[in-house]
């Protein structure tokens, strides 16, 4: 398990989720030697089990520039990782069930336009019907982002890993990083299975466990461990292309090309992160089912084949931590994506690589600095 036989990596990435794999890929593309340490296996957690929504729609304004830049990478995902990741772009739609909700989405578009972003538009009832014929009659309009879409999460994360490996990155699975210390300009990293590794730079992409890594370098963060739930139906004949959400309640609704329909939207079960375990809360699943019952009457008889939850990190302000550590040099954070970090995967890996190899990024990451929780 010691790294002696192999050349010392330039960067150790802690965490083999999409963010760890994306950072590993971008660094490898620049000739940097990367070692990814993953406590379970790659894509075991949020990155492998999420809803696969690739959306700019409805993002926190601080995330919008990153999300727009990431979207461009998604549209060329095959060039980046040699796999289309199951990515399809049929737009994402957030329906308004009342005039008041329609007013809310209008205000949202005005806010984005003022900031110079034009990817979100308001559509009326008629266009909503033509985009989503199965939508319930009472819906009056919607917010739409036409360039959005969805991909297959496990396949995506796996593809990032594969490409990174092809470019020279190494992955070590099955041992959690237990200790992190810096001596003489070198990080020393120990794993639970007895591994010891050294590198000049470390990336903390440990998802819902990232606060523990941060705590080791004296940077406690108010990370909340959550367990968003999803359920999926048996295959039905194709009837909807875009991904649909709602304005007044939580929903994420999409049909895969194979016919199965994925239903989620952020209702929470319970997470037990020390045991890699989640429990579903069926009273909440029931709320989710009720929303679909209301918005897609044709789905009432659909069979739910499986449901599950993933372990995810949520920050109090619902936006991630991205950028250099506030206490130690040569440590970079990338975590806390608050249940919408899948879409950001491609760009945040690039930002992290930019920071490590060039000391700067051209995207505005100040809102994501870890120091924001210090006060």
């Amino acid at each position: 398990m010691t790294a002696t036989a192999l050349p010392r990596p330039d960067v150790i990435v802690i965490g083999g989720g999409l963010h760890g794999c994306s950072a590993a890929l971008q660094l490898s593309m620049r000739g940097v030697r990367v070692l990814v340490l993953e406590k379970d296996h790659v894509a075991r957690h949020a990155s492998g089990v999420n809803a696969g929504g690739v959306r700019q729609l409805g993002r926190h304004v601080a995330e919008v520039p990153l999300s727009v830049a990431s979207m461009a990478l998604w549209h060329g995902i095959r060039d980046l990782v040699d796999d289309d990741c199951g990515f399809e772009s049929h737009g994402q739609i957030k329906v308004a069930e009342t005039e008041a909700e329609l007013e809310t989405v209008r205000a949202r578009v005005a806010e984005l336009n003022a900031l110079g972003f034009t990817h979100e538009e308001v559509i009326g009832q008629e266009e909503l019907r033509s985009l989503v014929p199965a939508i319930a009659d009472h819906c009056v309009g919607a917010l739409v982002s036409r360039g959005d879409g969805a991909a297959i999460p496990f396949r995506t994360t796996f593809a990032f890993r594969r490409k990174a490996i092809a470019l020279g990155a190494r992955f070590q699975e099955g041992g959690a990083v237990t200790r992190l210390a810096r001596k003489g300009g070198l990080w020393s990293v120990e794993t639970a299975d007895g591994g010891r590794f050294e590198a000049p730079v470390v990336v903390n992409a440990a998802g819902a466990w990232a606060d523990r890594i941060a705590a080791q370098v004296g940077e406690p963060v108010p990370l909340e461990v959550i367990a968003p739930m999803l359920m999926i139906t048996a295959r039905v004949a194709p009837f909807i292309k875009p991904v649909v959400g709602a304005t007044g309640r939580t929903l994420s609704f999409k049909q895969f090309p194979n016919g199965t329909v994925l239903i989620g939207g952020g209702l929470l079960g319970r997470a037990v992160r020390d045991e890699n375990r989640t429990e579903l809360d069926f009273s909440q699943v029931s709320v989710n089912a009720r929303t679909v019952w209301d918005l897609f009457p044709c789905m009432r008889g659909a069979t739910i084949v499986r449901s599950w939850a993933g372990i995810e990190a949520r920050m109090p302000d619902q936006i991630p931590v991205i950028g250099p550590s506030g206490t130690e040099p040569d440590l970079y954070h990338s975590f806390g994506f608050s249940a919408h970090g899948f879409q950001l995967g491609p760009i945040v890996g690039r930002i992290t690589a930019d920071l490590i190899t060039g000391g700067a990024t051209d995207l505005p990451i100040a809102p994501f600095r870890i120091g924001r929780f210090a006060a």
Binding site: R235, V236, A237, N258, G259, C298, M299, G301, T303
Partner: protein, 100 residues
């Protein structure tokens, strides 16, 4: 292909139902899957993946190969539902349309 043991055939309390619209008879107490097999219907659906024909395999509710449409509701496990007088059983073709 399956047949009823002779002593049972005569004693049977008969149930009339339909298979894809054709009249059929079963024994009270039969599951829908058993009733189909007793009527010579071995294949009850095509898979949504490749379109291959399938028929009941486990008869205990675990394999889901006996899926049929019963009285308009699709994806029912034929081996877990008892046949009833007047029941309309339809074999299933591939992915179900939504709304049934």
């Amino acid at each position: 292909m399956f047949r009823r043991l002779p002593e049972i055939e005569t004693a049977a309390e008969k149930v009339s139902f339909t298979i894809d619209g054709r009249p059929a008879k079963a024994r009270a107490g039969d599951s829908v899957a058993a009733a189909l097999l007793a009527n010579g219907v071995t294949a009850c659906r095509n898979t949504p993946v490749s379109g291959a024909a399938r028929g009941p395999y486990c008869m205990m509710g675990v394999c889901f190969d006996c899926l049929v449409t019963i009285d308009g509701t699709g994806n029912r496990q034929g081996c877990q539902v008892r046949v009833a007088p007047g029941m309309a059983v339809e074999t299933q073709n591939g992915k179900r349309e939504v709304e049934r």
